[in-house]
Symmetry: C2
Subunit: 454 residues, 2 copies
């Protein structure tokens, strides 16, 4: 009865400020460029898409930004989220390492996404916006924004990648339960959707196409703005409540991480847990190893090029410098839908260039094997995305075993897998296989990157 | 920022003892009878099915029973569970009532069931048992025991009602992820299953049949015991951690309930939250109204007869006195699979006879309407079973509004609906309708009750 496994903070300990790593980076990331002029964009260029308060957060270099009262009030529903010591997993691995995990699956939508969804809905509501258009792949972001919309009385329209819309009816049902409208993309509601459907009526869709549709709806409707669930600076910043809480909880445990692991799709859950620790390091604190884990079938950080690229397929977004596989790259349909994006958050990409983070890619079957081992030890069934972080943490713990070192490992278990059980069924039946992208397609997508003389 | 919405207790506040209402009842419930002799059963009669430690708990009249250290250690994973003040729901209802809910969906299996699953697995392991056979309807109990089996290294075999096995592949996937074996019932693995299949090869199964199969496997295999997820005294007692915690959390809030609401299938989640409060009342504390909510399509408490009956269809179990619709009664296939049982826990039935609790029945569409309203206000999508409690609590809150009374309402949100989204899809598409049982079938089932001259 002496081993603590769960570190809880009182709701008074919900962070009062988001942490902005821009303030501590030795050099700023390259500017965002206008797709036409290829000159740096100003706040006004983004005004059709976002309320000004979020645009100012996007470009802010302040170290801390106050979390509005109504946002913290809603955070109380699931924050502070628990930090667990994975004692049964440690025992199963026979590792001298200590493994901690921050569990974001306790949010009502089941992932870390509500941390930014609630903030974005709040600022939009405050700016008098009535409707928000967005896209979703696996559905975690769409359902988080749907929930936030219900809380603030905003209409939410979600363009859901058609293949996911058909394969994941339960994520769709969750969005509808929260009152959102969910549309399979490509759709006939937008010009960009119609253009794709004209080429191929049964197009399965992609995140890049769905982004184009949502951006178009926002750009062409005065009462509608756009919201993105990852990639952008302000989105990553909203997620830093995760790392700030983890730091306080590890302090309760009398510990500090040597290694922090997270999975990366657009980069927001990884940034959320590591940025506060990297910031502390940059301000003279302890050096940590921050390891981003990505799918081998969509390896932007480990195989992508660091270059200016569009965020969407329709080329409606500004150009950002990031590790990218090219905006026309279509990853194979592996189960971690939240990690199927061609690019990486510019801030994460910049951190990799600055050698503040490492990255590593794993195949689908090995991460599911790790996820099942984790579930049997700890009881929580991770989302397919989170299985990547689990695998990364287990490998670090096994390395500690080999080296006889009792290091402290922290990872972000960014969501549960309750809506992804088909993937587990496929795994057990042997239908879930390792998929790889087409090397020629990748080469073509990279060759098609926009030319920017920066 | 001043309104607390979540009351958390440190893991040191996990209850150290289960509460046994037997110690405080003014009269004991009628004895359990041997199905052959119709004389009261002794502990030895139950020994083929359960380890002696659980049998002694079943018949104990001690007020408190110590929770073993290893069980509390595992409870730490999700206990103490949060108590929420439903401020946004109160606002939506414009009620002067205060609504609190205890949320058991934070357990890794998503419901209150692990509270007893872990305890039962522990005592079986301690007794040298290698395998446990059980049944499950909707799958909440089966997945909870599967998880507990994984923690203690026990083989778990789950007979899952065939219609649910086919309709709910994701609950099955969850059990398999934890390493359990899940078999559609009726099966050809048992004599009772074969007998049913001989009559009808495509029989959809029922909870009563699945219980017969699991009991038969336990009774005929030396290394195998049986486990039940509700109904029995020791199971209800294990759930009293819920009510004990809620009492401590309401004390943090400076409050005490006037009304407590829970849904009832076998009775365990309702007993878990109300028994500690009823016990306090019986020992001279404040009188509360405890309201059991059941489905109108399977109304054991509101329409059943208080009589001796079998727990299963194959008549392998002892006879217990309970509110029952008759062991041959087959409820229509409504979505709250966890509430589709012909009988009620003897202790709950006895409490109703003693007028310590009230009961009320609702139809399926009205409880889903309440569940959707709750989800949009509070963010959590309840399980179909829990929607009954939500509806009961909302109705009490609306009554407070009519009467202008600011009462304190507590209800048990016993699980989330992530594995039940098809039901929500059906609700939104209008396919989910109110189903009623056949009055003639009920009359026949009641006419077939065993005759006991007690």
């Amino acid at each position: 009865m002496t081993d603590t496994v769960k570190y809880l903070l009182d709701e008074s300990r919900i962070p009062r400020r988001w942490y902005n790593i821009m303030a501590d980076l030795p050099t700023p990331p390259p500017p965002v460029l206008h797709p036409g002029t290829k000159k740096p964009v100003g706040p006004d260029d983004l005004a059709p898409l976002f309320p000004m308060s979020l645009i100012l957060q996007e470009v802010s270099t302040d170290r801390e930004i106050d979390i509005p009262g109504p946002v913290r009030e809603i955070y109380k529903q699931w924050r502070p989220s628990p930090l667990f010591r994975a004692r049964r997993l440690e025992k199963a691995l026979q590792t001298p390492a200590k493994i901690y995990y921050k569990y974001e699956g306790v949010s009502p939508a089941g992932s870390h996404k509500p941390n930014t969804a609630v903030a974005q809905a709040f600022y939009n509501k405050e700016a008098g916006v009535k409707k928000i258009a967005t896209e979703t792949g696996a559905g975690q972001w769409g359902s988080a924004l749907a929930m936030a919309g219900a809380f603030f009385g905003l209409e939410i329209k979600v363009f859901m990648v058609r293949v996911s819309y058909n394969q994941k009816p339960y994520r769709r049902a969750l969005m509808e339960t929260f009152g959102a409208k969910c549309i399979p993309s490509p759709s006939s509601e937008t010009q960009s959707g119609k253009a794709i459907l004209a080429q191929r009526a049964d197009h399965p869709g992609s995140l890049g196409i769905a982004i184009s549709e949502a951006v178009e709806v926002a750009a062409t409707n005065d009462d509608t703005k756009y919201a993105l669930g990852s990639v952008l600076n302000h989105v990553l910043m909203h997620q830093t409540v995760v790392g700030q809480e983890a730091m306080a909880q590890l302090e309760m445990a009398g510990d500090y991480p040597d290694i922090i692991v997270g999975c990366t799709g657009g980069g927001s859950n990884f940034a959320g847990i590591v940025f506060p620790f990297i910031g502390a390091q940059l301000r003279g604190g302890k050096k940590i190893r921050a390891v981003a884990i990505e799918p081998a079938a969509c390896p932007s950080l480990t195989r992508g090029r660091y270059a200016y690229d569009f965020g969407d397929t329709g080329h409606l977004t500004p150009l950002v410098k990031m590790h990218t596989l090219g905006s026309t790259f279509t990853p194979p349909p592996f189960h971690a839908g939240g990690l199927r994006y061609h690019g990486m958050a510019p801030l994460i990409s910049h951190c990799q260039e600055l050698k503040l983070i490492e990255s590593k890619a794993y195949t689908q079957t090995e991460v599911f094997s790790a996820g099942v081992q984790f579930a049997r030890a700890e009881g929580i069934v991770p989302a397919p995305e989170a299985n990547h972080a689990v695998k990364g943490a287990i490998d670090e713990a096994l390395r500690c075993k080999t080296e006889g070192k009792g290091k402290t490992i922290l990872f972000n278990l960014c969501g549960h897998g309750h809506f992804d059980m088909q993937a587990y069924t496929d795994y057990f039946s042997g239908k879930l296989t390792d998929q790889s992208y087409d090397e020629k397609e990748l080469a073509m997508a990279l060759a098609g990157l926009p030319s920017v003389s920066a």
